[in-house]
Subunit: 168 residues, 2 copies
DNA sequence: TAGCACTGCTTCGAATTCGAAGCAACACCT
DNA sequence: AGGTGTTGCTTCGAATTCGAAGCAGTGCTA
């Protein structure tokens, strides 16, 4: 009686498998394009894109990490890498001395602009090409729904820290 | 006039973003479950699951790699790891001396069985919980469609090998 | 205002990942 | 049979990724 045997319907199974497969294939395709055109990893591109959209072109590390679903340590690594390439700057926040504010540079925007068309193209080709307008709409609706559901409950990417001090 | 500026409609954009976000979040959730319960990485689980489904519980390395959308070298690594744990065996094919046949062991099936319920549970919770039956059906249809489209044209994961011999 | 828990980020070490290059077996063509 | 290209896998080195642990700044409470 430990775990009531959960089940997926055959439709759910099909949806799940196809979903993971598409996401893998799409990701690989996009990664290749980004690497070839702008020497960017997928994560780096996501970071730049988010910063490009953000007001003032700047965001806190944590918000970035949450935004792209990424570990903080991994973000530190990539942000350093981007900083070395001059695509972003990092500095302390004036409001909170702990926070690091990452901001996209003009050079960063240039790279983003260089990579963007091919990125869009890749997404169009690999994800949308075979879909009707209704399909796309449906997909948007469903994915947004799930995404909202996921963002709602689970503890953030940082999760509950493993009780730093005394477990008492 | 180099690249005709491609565009994504706002719906497409929304679909794309939500799609990648869901896929990331789902993946993280599933990975955590697999790690906690069976000390398996996502890839390892996929491999075991595929082998479990395959006739005779065995498959060629390449077919496995293609099946899970994974690099061959990465597969070698994980297959070794699984072999060391006794969850799979590896041996040469009788038909083609080059091929390595990976087969799941009883122990491998045990681990699979131990992990499976939680896995299903995680997928249900994170992907399907907030969706209606129609949504799921739609998702299955659309994803299958895209997956078919993707599998159709692009060169396999091995891609065209970078012209091994003389480039002349 | 001192104490204490929490938050934000980085450092560290280990594990994973990939592509390029290399090795061996196969297939085809003459 | 010999030559040439292809396929299947592994090894190698470099890059990326994560979680745990550590450091510093904040905020709350007495």
């Amino acid at each position: 009686m430990s775990t009531p045997p959960p089940q997926l319907s055959s439709t759910e199974l099909a949806a799940y498998f196809a979903f993971t497969e598409v996401s893998s294939l799409l990701r690989h395709a996009v990664e290749k394009q980004l690497r070839d055109v702008g020497k960017l990893s997928y994560v780096q591109f996501q970071l730049l894109a988010r910063l490009g959209d953000a007001p003032g072109g700047a965001q806190r590390m944590t918000d970035l990490a949450d935004g792209v679903v990424y570990s903080r340590s991994g973000l530190t690594y990539q942000a350093q890498s981007l900083e070395e390439r001059g695509l972003v700057t990092r500095g302390p926040s004036s409001e909170d001395e702990r926070s690091t504010i990452v901001a996209i540079t003009d050079e960063g925007r240039d790279v983003l602009a260089k990579v963007f068309p091919g990125h869009i193209e890749a997404v169009k080709t690999h994800l949308f090409e075979s879909l009707s307008a209704e399909d796309v709409e449906m997909l948007a609706r469903v994915m947004t729904q799930v995404s909202g559901h996921l963002r709602a409950e689970p503890p953030r990417s940082a999760a509950s820290r493993t009780r730093t001090t005394k477990p008492n």
